[in-house]
Amino acid sequence: MSRTDTVTRADVTDVADLTDLTPGDRHGRAYWAVADCWNVVRRGLTHYQRRPVMIAWQLGFPIISVLLYGYVFGGAMKSPDGGSVRDFLMPGMFAMTMAFGFMNTAIAVVTDASKGVIDRFRSMPMAPSAVVTGRGVNDLIIACSELAILAATAFAMGWRTDTGIVASLAAFGLLLLLRFCLIWVGILLGLLVPNAEAAGGLYVVAFPLTMISSVFVPPSTMPDWLGTIAAWNPISSTAAAARELFGNPVASDGSWIQEHSLLMAVVWPIAVTAVFAPLAVRRFQRLSR
């Protein structure tokens, strides 16, 4: 019945008869969940193609941080175990960039939500999950390119790994895992805040959350109570695990959390995902309440 209806309608619309408008229905739901996700990703990537400046903005902060901390403070800072300060800093910078990524997710989501784009998607016969999965895949692809550019910058500044390709890839994998779990935080926040300006205000929260960690200095150099918080910061676990895998100075003080950074760099993201993914999905479904 649907077919005949659509065809009849197409006949009366003067231009519509040029193109057959019967949606492709040969495939099942799983196929469309993937295909629609990819179409949403394509849209996100086209943004970067249309506005290359966007990627420059997103990368500008970490690259400038790398340069600032590497050259401006690098000389004054002593590496915890006598190695190069830059070698200690770089994995921290990578982790920080991944951590700040949730802001980009949140801003993208709230922009779509406040402009009615998410409502349009929801009123279409596409797979509803693609709105969320498309965002996630898009952000992971961007995170990969961010890591590649940061690593190249770090390499140019003299940062080296000496543990081989497998360990290095594992380190990048853990960094992406951190980014992955924060996608859910970003989606949830994007659906909770009223507009992009409010999402921008999240920096006030994000900045200390990344600073109180082992990203810049070992927690052992902080006051005890602050050092403990910093050590248990999930970003610290990822940064320390990446340092270990890259063969860079780790500066562990021997405490349990710092001795188990590899384990915790997996456990933390899984825990964050376990909490925030259901919350984000529920929030998305609640749009129809």
Binding site: M1, S2, D5, T6, R9, A10, V12, T13, D14, V15, A16, L18, T19, D20, L21, P23, G24, D25, W32, A35, D36, N39, V40, R42, R43, T46, H47, R50, R51, S114, K115, G116, V117, D119, R120, F121, R122, S123, M124, P125, M126, A130, L287, S288, R289
Partner: protein, 320 residues
Amino acid sequence: MDGYAVVAEGLEKRYGDKHALAGFDLAVQQGSVHGLLGPNGAGKTTAVRVLATLLRFDGGRARVAGVDVRCEPRQVRRRIGLTGQYAAVDEVLTGRQNLEMFGRLFHLGGRRAVRRATELLEQFDLVGAGDKGVGTYSGGMRRRLDLAASMILAPDVLFLDEPTTGLDPRSRGEVWEAVRRLVAGGTTVLLTTQYLEEADRLASRITVIDQGRAIADDTPDGLKDRVGGDRIEVVARDAADLPAVAKAVARVADTDPTTDALERRVHAPVTDRVAALTDVARTLQEERIGVEDIGLRRPSLDDVFLRLTGHGTQTTEEAA
């Protein structure tokens, strides 16, 4: 119900103990433009969002393009287009890229999506701007692109939620023109608006909604007849002159004039607009009555509401 593209019966939507829709009924004839008229918070947007499958509802029944909204939302989504209060298009992409993206998400496949985008750019007069970023579009162009995006599958039913709010008069005219062309092509349109003029220009039938309930369903003319059509309005300079003004107005008016002493205003419905205005103006001049303002007023949404509900538009609480 045959011949109806949208049928709603006793729709209920509650937020806590607040009723956004309280037994809302609607019947939209196939191939027509149906206006849904009401002030902010009357339940217009809630009704459209329920019918467009964006909101679950708590009670009642609704069928859109012959499909049950509650049981088969996916089937409904293939037969409808939705244009919300914001132009829901991607600002960064070009107009063409937007239409191609939405076409692929409507499962047309890459090649058909590309062809459909070209057709729609022509149909909505956006060929020249098709390859420019939407960020550079005017309000009217954005709206037309928005309309084009909701027409990708040439839907049976198109929901337009306040399509011209915030547009300048020229853009408004462009959007009205686009809507007329769609209807000529056979699409049924449900249009929500706060402007009686807009509903009057486009719709063949108007449902007035207040506090989540349809309080009138009529043709635009029928509705205006109920409100009393145009009226003449005189503001006296001196309150003491009000009886004399009322007498002058009564000579041309269809019913007894209403006097608002506080605002020194006398008004009454009239049929022969220009004759009434000149007659009253001459009388007042001959009797040397000081007049601060005199004129003809078209019935506004406020008037419709006052007449139909006994309260103005401001008293309806925000609930959208």
